[in-house]
Subunit: 337 residues, 2 copies
Amino acid sequence: MRIAIDAMGGDHAPDEIVAGVLEAVPQLDKDDEVVLVGPQELVESKLVELKYKKGRVSVVDAPDVVAMDDAPIESLRKKPKSSIAVMAKLAKRGQADAVISAGNTGACVAAFQMRMRNLPGVNRPGIAVVFPMSAGPVTICDVGANVACKPINLYQYGLMSTVYSQHILGIANPRVGLMSIGQEDAKGNEVVKRTRELLRSDDRLNFVGNIEGRDIFRGVCDVVVCEGFVGNVILKLTEGAVDGLFRAIKQELMQEKARLALKFKPIIMRVYQKHDYNEYGGAPLLGINGTALICHGSSKSRTIRNAIFASKKYYTQRINEKITDCLSEAHVRTSDA
Amino acid sequence: MRIAIDAMGGDHAPDEIVAGVLEAVPQLDKDDEVVLVGPQELVESKLVELKYKKGRVSVVDAPDVVAMDDAPIESLRKKPKSSIAVMAKLAKRGQADAVISAGNTGACVAAFQMRMRNLPGVNRPGIAVVFPMSAGPVTICDVGANVACKPINLYQYGLMSTVYSQHILGIANPRVGLMSIGQEDAKGNEVVKRTRELLRSDDRLNFVGNIEGRDIFRGVCDVVVCEGFVGNVILKLTEGAVDGLFRAIKQELMQEKARLALKFKPIIMRVYQKHDYNEYGGAPLLGINGTALICHGSSKSRTIRNAIFASKKYYTQRINEKITDCLSEAHVRTSDA
């Protein structure tokens, strides 16, 4: 398979991106190729710097760069030769089986949707992020592709995430929870109330009903369905809360004896590692007609390496075929809701 | 002043509620009174149990009890003599200067709005919760009173929370952030984009623009404006993340030597105490024509005691007058947006 990677995406591009690719390549199959998409000279100089000898990594030129804070649609119009736009075109033409970027999420979603189109029956794609929890991985969809969801979108996120959770995470019968503000049916906004009916009426889903913010950490479900605005807040808030708490603990430890502080370091590190989302590499854009992974803006080489493996698994497990099959049997279709 | 408290509200009612009242009373002014609202016999028996001698605490009978998971509006219709409904009536008739409940939030908001009405110029009240952070307290409004906000509601939450933050928390010029999914103007949903214009155009506000979930923990603002659905998810998610992390650390510690685990305990306790929202007692329903505090469902006596002091401060600082003044000078009024 041929995997295209945005060499200019994220806070540590291009160095960490190129490094991640070189870490992954030795572990790929013999007929796998990786294409680094970015300003040709710059990317090639990085390959030379890292002493890469010609082989399965090639460079496709994309002189424009979309900044992390560029307006998505506008940046694609103004920068048609950006790495994100060029990657989307490669996927469209069948010159890439998977695309991976740690760059501007909005621009990725817009470019991938525009060029690659949706899978049959999918109304709007959604980004699915996996939270590693002590009780097992929890998939949250959507975390930012779609800020104004209709019930049909959320229902499809439930179906697609179930397929993903089954075939990528190995959870036989994933429990699906709908993010709301109380467990009772009367709680939530209108979209949530109508979504609940759709999720509940599909026998193939293991729907556990409404969940609340705190439930994500309590092992009550394997899939969380929410609109992109809420999911994005959840994602960044969790990151902030965990960082903040670790910082607060560190501050308190600094006031202790150095020897004691040192003893706690490995404990904190173990907790951190067990909840490290970098393990999963990137978040798939579920519902797109192709394999597209979006990585955290702060991705370092390890995340990129893992994202490459994740894209390979997504592709070889034929997740998109399974999603298409699943949606074709849905009792509510795009046109109905 | 006369403070009415829902004796039946919350997971630990009535025991912890009555205990909290008795803890607070000795520290109140001589002419302050507390009214416990709930099933007369039951509440009186609790007072006897706790060896309370007749004085400034009285009981008003409310034989019905609204359960935590009752549908708000329906429960008020079916249980007109619930403690929540009776408290709201006391406030309406001027027989209570403040109402406090750790019960069903939706039922409280509905009952208080119906009986007490809104302050002049207020479109919809919002619940303001204070997060204690190392960098200082952060007020988040709304966390669940209004799940489908219009821009005017969010704008007013910014104004009302600014007044609250100034006069209750002592922050001279509170920085106001608007919860969104990216700092750039182009990010967010339609309501957020329109709200930003309203907040930005009011010179009296110290508006810092869009913030993201992680920013709550980074000390970038003193007030966070968001719609009730998102705010409620934020509130419960933070609680869940912090609990989950402390649990994970505990689990790791259990695998260490007992002596080491013991040494770590006070450090964790110090971190916990610095972030303990029980310190603030309850969350005011900003915009209601009266003083109404809503406490966490898991409130114990200490929270109730602190909520009583908080209601007194809110009342004596004349927060509602200041809110009314502030809103009367707003450039956009209820009727305009």
